[in-house]
């Protein structure tokens, strides 16, 4: 039976997502190749709107399509009122996210890349224990609905995650970063070199007197600022009334050096694709422009609830979860100032590379409070050594009102974040026993 025909006769609206995913994973644990896994997922998720109510069901059993349709219809009998309709067929931008060179990477090559990574780290830091995870996938998705939408797209995500633990006596240093791309990246070791540079720099330990000082966030460190922003800019939180930015579109909330963009249309990036998970074309969404709030990210449902259009930000956490609004690639726009100039202007301050416990606590309120996993002291414009046992806390809705400088230089970090260096002139840095 064709599930489409069946649903057509039973519900006002329907949407069928077919998802196929082949993933090969190579994992090194403590510098040893531990496992190799090939995982193939294939399934169908259905949403229906029947008598104005939304239903959902998913299945990985191709023989159970009838049951899948029945489950979705039964779910709709108890579903939320659906004040929206599924996506209209619309032309989407051409986004390059499929690369044979990635999709065809042989297992042996992934194993070799893992070796190359260890060969960069271990000669510099023989005591390091590295966990390296290399994962390449081939994802094909198609979305159809009652409006005649029928789109198919495929991506070839490659992600390489590197975690380095260095334990010497009581000193524990844990570093993590991840490369994520959908097109082959010639400089696939660039992020590992940056990790190695951090390890080398961290050898010199120094100290700093806690208190108010200039704090320079490295691209990895800006995540402390970006996570509360990404929550506050989420249309779901805005609709629920929990975002502090609710009702403030058009207002200047931040320093004019702050511009935030969600962009799922950049070729080759990890969260890029022509369409979102409801078949709405991805687009470039400028959310904060020179400090002024321009808008939020929405999927179809939250957009309808809020009386606006979807921004193409529907995302599903796998087959078995219904779509939710979520960022694609999060971009904190680079600024005007060369990094060297920012450093040169700091007499005594810290460079924040990595924080512990990101995302914990009530970050929706803008507040964050994190111990620093890796920070360096800046003295008279020079990075002089690692400082330990410090923590920072603050609220981004205060901190980002006055930004001293944003660097020209920027990096992709943790796969989906693009960020520059951000300098906050006067921020409280706490010591261990304060």
């Amino acid at each position: 039976m064709d599930i489409l025909t069946h649903l057509k006769s039973q519900a006002e609206q329907f949407e069928i997502l077919d998802l196929q995913n082949e993933t090969t994973t190579i994992e090194y644990e403590a510098n040893q190749l531990k496992t190799c896994t090939v995982a193939e997922t294939k399934g169908t998720a259905v949403r229906v709107i029947r008598k104005g109510q939304l239903g959902f069901s998913a299945s990985t059993d191709p023989a159970a399509l009838e049951k899948l349709a029945a489950n979705a219809l039964e779910s709709a009998a108890y579903g939320d009122p659906a004040p929206f309709s599924f996506a209209d067929p619309r032309p989407a931008p051409i986004v390059h996210t499929f690369d044979r060179a990635v999709a065809d990477l042989p297992i042996a090559r992934l194993v070799e890349i893992g070796r190359e990574i260890l060969d960069l780290i271990l000669p510099v830091e023989p005591n390091a224990r590295c966990n390296v995870s290399l994962e390449r996938s081939l994802v094909s998705a198609s979305i159809r609905n009652q409006k005649g939408l029928d789109v198919a797209f495929r991506t070839s995500p490659l992600s390489i995650g590197v975690e380095i633990d260095r334990i010497e006596g009581d000193d524990v240093l844990i570093l993590y970063d991840q490369l994520g791309t959908t097109l082959w990246e010639d400089d696939y070791l660039g992020f590992v070199r940056r990790l190695v540079q951090k390890l080398e720099r961290a050898r010199t330990i120094t100290s700093i007197k806690p208190g108010k000082m200039p704090v320079l966030f490295a691209p990895t460190g800006t995540l402390a600022l970006a996570l509360p922003l990404s929550e506050g800019l989420n249309g779901k939180e805005v609709y629920k009334g929990t975002s502090p930015m609710r009702g403030k579109v058009g207002e200047k909330l931040f320093d004019e050096k702050i511009t935030v963009v969600d962009d799922g249309t950049i070729d080759g990036k990890f969260a890029s694709a022509s369409y979102d998970d409801e078949g709405v074309p991805h687009r470039r969404n400028v959310l904060i422009e020179r400090g002024v709030l321009k808008g939020f990210i929405y999927d179809l449902k939250t957009a309808a609830q809020s009386g606006v259009e979807s921004t193409g930000n529907a995302s599903r956490g796998g087959l078995f979860a219904p779509p939710q609004p979520s960022f694609t690639n999060f971009i904190l726009q680079p600024g005007e100032t060369p990094l060297q100039e920012m450093l040169a202007g700091i007499d005594e301050g810290i460079l924040v590379e990595d924080l512990l416990g990101l995302g914990q606590g009530n970050i929706l309120s803008g507040a964050f409070s994190n111990p620093l996993a890796l920070a360096f002291k800046i003295e008279k414009g020079e990075i002089v050594g690692r400082v330990k046992d410090l923590s920072i806390a603050g609220n981004i809705y205060d901190l980002l009102k006055n930004v001293a400088a944003v660097s020209q230089e920027a990096q992709w970090v943790y796969s989906t974040f693009y960020a520059p260096y951000v300098l906050i002139e006067d921020m409280m840095v706490a010591g261990k026993n304060q």
Partner: protein, 456 residues
Amino acid sequence: MRDRIQEALKHSRADYTEIRIEEKETTRVVFRGRELETANANIDKGGIVRCLIRNKGWGVATFNNLDDLLTKVDQAYQCALVASVPEPVELAEVEPVQQVVTAQMGRDFRDVSLAEKKAVAERYNQIVLGFSDKIIDSQAAYSDSFSRIILANSEGTYIEQEKPAVVVGAFAIARDGDNVQQAHESFASTQGFEYVLDKDELARKAAQKAVELLSAKPVKAGVYPVVIDQMLAGVFIHEAFGHLSEADFVYENPKAREMMTLGRRFGKGILNVFDDGSIPNLRGTTLYDDEGTPARRNWLIRDGVLVGRLHSRQTAAKMGEPASGNARAINYRFAPIVRMTNTAIDNGTTSFEDMIKDIELGIYACDAYGGQTQLENFSFSSGYAYMIRKGQIAEMVKDVILAGNLFTTLDNIDAIGNDFKWLNTGGGCGKGNQYPLPVGMGAPHIRIQNVVIGGE
């Protein structure tokens, strides 16, 4: 299917090959506050092939398309070829088994409409919300899952098992000014839909505890004799001790290996602890584990002495001990790892009255609200607690956190109750990426001397 599985196994070039196929139907209904948050059913069907090349290692392939098992076996084999174990992998001997285990349910929840399942969750949600005007938020959930699992390996094992589970839970948040308290109760059964129908008391208890906690005073920090109820004792033995008994943890960690030497005294002679996946109808029961090893009773502590641990076939061979039936996976997307089944402190002889009657000042701590363990150090929050004064249960107190060293604490257990109970709660255990795995816990009341209680 059986023919195709056996055909695929026959063609494998690996030293050992294992195929597991799982078909699972789940339903979930959740009320939150006055809103119905979720009401849907999903179907998940797929398989996993594991190949072992002794001098190389394991290769794994997981999939939804069951049409071409031969290709999947080859994929897993190719994966195993790239592995590079430092020493050859051996598997402990297990007698090949051919067996079909069917579920015995009263009313099969697969035949129950979503409307009726929704009504169950709605009823418990109403009970929580209607209990008191101090209740400001609630959550009530109904969920069920029915799995049919086929396990076959190249040594001749072929096992089909059906695993049903139905769970209800109620969660209450009460508020009085800035004082916010919460309580949670859940119940799980493997025996059919009717077993979750008469649980009004469970919803009422969650609401009542949350409201009662509003007027409870924080406990005064100090060192006390503490009596813990079956629930807290069960969670304690699972978290603080059980995980250390998992052999994969022991053999990868030199410090743990030293700590967990068999024959080491762990407590007084009255202390007996076991793990047993063979007891019918418990949450963690699995008559054959995900490597086909039959479940059995594994004594971990006998008369106060460490006598055993939990194994997969690989860890058993590595440590020269027998496989114990504890290789488990949450679903077909994962290879099995060493896990608990139903873990318990065995029944003792002391009545609850005798346990508290000589306590001048102590604490009766009930229910577990969460905890952390790090090697031998643990910290647990009890859900609620009472002071014991002059041999009597007295006023309720809150924020009771038990912290300490596992060995000291086990050694300080000086009375074990005669009121053993299996806890039929609905939670699950997490390890690695695999969560939630259904596990059972059981214990009688136990008394522990000199417990450090944090607080004001």
